[in-house]
Amino acid sequence: MLPAFQHQFWLGLRDVSPLAIGVAVYGLAFGLLAAQAGMSELQVGAMGGLVFAGSSQIIAVERMTAGAGAAAAIIAGLALNLRLILITASIRDIYRGLPWWRVVLGAHFASDENWALLLARRARGQEAGYWYLVGAGAGLMVTWICASVAGVAFASAIPEPRALGMDFAFAAAFIAIMRSLWRGRTDLLPWAVSAVGVAALVMTETIAASWAIIIGGLVGAAVASIRAHD
């Protein structure tokens, strides 16, 4: 019998494996972009481990290649990461009462995919806590680093993710996770407000997509807060 924390770590690692394929494809694409920005394998690998936020890494490097300058690249990357505030805030229970270094480690490993998997597992009534998040996060990080370093090394021989339909991998994964988070009729109004509000903001090009996600999440949560329980 494994100790409980090891068991949770391996469960996280197992559950994240279908997503690792999508992460690997994006890692390759990111490596390709980073190679164009003149980054070395070491720099790309270090960025994956230290920043560990795929979409913000992609946008920061894209801004660099566009000649936007260091400040613009950093601001664009950080703006995309503001949603991580809501992500770690929403799983506050797993950080409670831990020593500071475990809080830092667990916060660093929190990303969209393993956070959503943790919630989905809980929605099925199964246990998922700190080590589940870290296990799934470690799987994501290793995959992300290896794939992006490989992307730099084989920059000339890689097809675009779009050509394989792999750009839709995350959309499909989030749709599956959305399904498992459905708690019943009380979710209907907040979810509808989030979905319609975000779609309107994006389609009318009112604000950038990364802000629309944050606003959509907050407005939906606000609607949920003012509704009394049935």
């Binding site: 506050r92 994964a173 907040p190 999440g217 807060s225």
Partner: protein
Amino acid sequence: MTEMTTDPTLIILVLAAGTLSVRLLGVVIGQGLPTEGAWARALNALPGCLIVSLVSVILASGGRREWIAGAIALGVAIPTRSLPLTMIAGIAAIWTLRHFGIAA
């Protein structure tokens, strides 16, 4: 004008420090909020609303094909609740629509 040179190492380090701060800020905010009442209801509803927003952004910035593939993926997700099956259905659908030039 000389070509703009940006040192990737500097950008990596600043972005890494900033991103970790953002993640930790969420932990701090989360611990400070009460566990009952309106705030707790909002925080409990937040994950679902964020995921819905994420899906909505992806679909709204895509075209008709993304909407169709999204509907097919949802059609698989609702009865099966399966992550791998939903991913396979969604990717197969978008690939088929693009490859055969359907619903451009």
